[in-house]
């Protein structure tokens, strides 16, 4: 046996799992850590909204004598209840509404990104695997057409086509929130399709795919079992960056009155209501939802950049 001459072979690095390696790379970048903390903060806010929010987001409170809703931060109602961030025009607690609004916003964002990923990744994987055939051509031209519209315009058009509020499809009723998720998912799935197709093409050229074929694996098996795991990093990065965009689009739709409908608390809708009161000096009304939206977008973008650097060290090195 050739066992004796092992000293010529050395190991490359210590035994680290892929996850540990990723964490090591990720931690090095302070900005991405900040992004991660922001996103974590939002996640906690969304998950524990009923525990964190001091009041029911729809309950209306009466202003004490001599005051009117919207009340500024730290004011109290007739019964002496404290409103940390003030009230809105109907006397509802802005803090509670903002917390619940964040919850719905993240629900829509996570839901629509998941659906978009599912559609886009499938399309992209098929197109990439069948690259150069009419299937690829058909899928990618459809993607081109969808990408030629500005995404918000496309989303508005889709809401227009589906109708505002909940919709009926045959015997099924689709709730408004699910409908919005679908609209945004359709709008953003082409971006996932593009990324996925490119990654699949890149991976297919690698020898391990040929090696898998040589070991007798079928085409579908190679695509699912061999190539798919290798496409996860770029798709995660894309999803994280798209979260930021989706937060903005969801808020924009609500702001325009095409998204979430009152009385469901929504940051975009709050921003819209606040417009009328800006000149009356009710700054808290707009700053709270606006700030939350901005911070969420910042957090997801920082996280996405950090993930890209950590998952694709080649690109990160180039940047430094």
């Amino acid at each position: 046996m050739a066992r004796e001459i092992q000293n010529g072979e050395y190991e490359l690095g210590a035994h680290r799992t892929l996850l540990q390696e990723f964490w090591r790379n990720f931690r090095r970048n302070r900005l991405s850590l900040i992004g991660g903390i922001i996103v974590l903060f939002y996640a906690v806010l969304a998950v524990f909204a009923p525990l964190i929010a001091p009041y029911d987001p729809i309950e209306q409170f009466d202003a004490p004598r001599g005051m009117r809703n919207p009340m500024p931060p730290l004011s109290r109602d007739v019964d002496g209840r404290l409103f940390l961030l003030g009230t809105d025009k109907f006397g509802r607690d802005i803090l509670s509404r903002a917390i619940y609004g964040t919850r719905t916003l993240l629900q829509v964002a996570v839901g629509s990104i998941s659906i978009a990923m599912l559609i886009g990744v499938t399309m992209g994987a098929v197109a990439g695997y069948k690259a150069g055939t009419w299937v690829d051509e058909l899928l990618m031209r459809a993607v081109d057409i969808m990408l030629s519209f500005p995404s918000l315009v496309l989303a508005i058009a889709l809401v227009g086509a589906f109708g505002i509020g909940k919709i009926r499809v045959g015997p099924f009723t689709v709730s408004n929130i699910v409908k919005i998720m679908l609209v945004i998912a359709i709008t953003y799935s082409p971006r996932f399709a593009r990324v996925m197709r490119a990654v699949v093409l890149q991976e297919m050229a690698k020898d391990y795919v040929a090696a898998a074929r040589i070991s007798g694996a079928s085409g579908v098996r190679i695509l699912v079992a061999e190539i798919l795991p290798n496409t996860i990093p770029p798709i995660i990065v894309q999803a994280s960056l798209m979260m930021a965009t989706t937060v903005l689009t969801t808020s924009s739709l609500s702001f325009l009155g095409l998204g979430l409908q009152p009385p469901r608390p929504s940051l975009g809708l709050m921003l819209n209501e606040a417009r009328d009161y800006l000149f009356w000096g009710a700054w808290w009304y707009a700053v709270v939802p606006g700030g939350l939206i901005t911070l969420a977008i910042l957090g997801f973008n920082l996280l996405g950049d950090g993930l890209r650097d950590a998952l694709d060290p080649r690109q990160a090195r180039r940047r430094r």
Binding site: G8, E9, Y10, Y208
Partner: protein, 330 residues
């Protein structure tokens, strides 16, 4: 009577936008049971395409145009893709040159070997893993149980190549194709790998089809050699015969470009000119533009690969053995 592998008149072409690439142009050869056959040639001479044709892994725009590939008496070109999948990795296996890209970076080495076993055996999950560890041990990887759960990037180049070989022999193939298995490795490890392959060949009694551009590797490992040039076999002989009496001018050129072991003061000679464009092959003999001996006939008529002496074939008009040309026997 047939060998383990009989390739007859294989023609593989690639239909590119620039034109038709005649990658493999009408080659025939035979590989006997547990024989090691070496295939030597420059890049682009059709070695790898020949191997991929045998595996039936030529993809568009490439096509196998003609010929028969008899593997254990059955024509692989007549098999359905489904039947081929059952043969690949089981009876017919292949190892690539670049071990890092040939292994899936997201799967542990053990899982990749186990996956091949899953395609071809009915072993249980646990049994597959156990067998994967056994195979890693068989190819001389220390601490195989630990290594099995490592990812490719955690292993050295030599170990990865061993793991790849373990994967290739996991189902006891009858024929193992090695496509420049040691190009990415340094010389000491190269020697170890060939030692290992030699042992496995004896142990499992498999035929080996070794693709390389290194004649010295062939000399130590193979019993017979095929020399390829521009998609064609130009010479075929037993190793000793080839080294002692190279017939084709191209083979002689190749041999002159290897440094001799003793008294190596003489300058090494390279073959002048370049490999011809496989789309626009010259008329006559493919090698004629670079050949010092070429005459009118070489430029116009293509020589056939024919037996010059028993067991020694060459495709050259000028390939008469000097002794025979003189009319005597040696």
């Amino acid at each position: 009577m047939s060998g383990l592998l009989d390739v007859e008149g294989l023609v593989t072409r690639f239909y590119t936008e620039e034109g038709v690439v005649k990658a493999v142009d009408g080659n025939s050869f035979r590989l006997e049971e547990d024989e090691a056959l070496g295939v030597v040639g420059e890049s682009g001479s059709g070695k790898t395409v020949t191997a991929l044709s045998i595996m039936r892994l030529i993809e568009a725009p490439g096509r196998i145009e003609a010929g028969r590939i008899l593997f254990r008496g059955e024509d692989l070109l007549k098999k359905s893709e489904r039947e081929m999948r059952r043969i690949r990795g089981k009876d017919l296996s292949m190892v690539f040159q670049d071990s890092l890209s040939s292994l899936n970076p997201t799967l542990t080495v053990g899982a990749q070997i186990a996956r091949v076993l899953k395609h071809h055996t009915r072993l249980s999950r646990r049994a597959r893993w156990r067998r994967a560890v056994e195979l890693l041990a068989a190819v001389g990887i220390p601490e195989p149980a630990k290594r099995a759960s490592h990812y490719p990037h955690q292993l050295s180049g030599g170990m990865r190549q061993r793991a790849l070989i373990a994967m290739a022999i996991s189902c006891n193939p009858k024929l193992l194709i090695l496509d420049e298995p040691t190009t990415a490795l340094d010389v000491t490890i190269e020697a170890q790998i060939f030692e290992l392959i030699g042992e496995l060949k004896e142990e499992f009694g498999m035929g080996v089809f070794l693709i390389t551009h290194d004649l010295s590797v062939v000399a130590s490992f193979c019993s017979r050699v095929i020399i390829m040039y521009a998609g064609k076999i130009v010479e075929e002989a037993g190793v000793h015969e080839l080294y002692a009496h190279p017939l084709h001018p191209y083979t002689r050129g190749l041999l002159r470009s290897i440094p001799p072991l003793e008294g190596g003061e003489a300058r090494l000679q390279s073959i002048p000119g370049e490999v011809p464009d496989l789309i626009n092959l010259p008329p006559g003999c493919n090698f004629s533009p670079r050949c010092a001996l070429a005459d009118e006939r070489c430029w116009q008529v293509e020589p056939e690969l024919s037996g010059i002496t028993p067991g020694h074939r060459a495709a050259c008009w000028r390939a008469e053995r000097p002794a025979m040309a003189g009319g005597g026997h040696d």
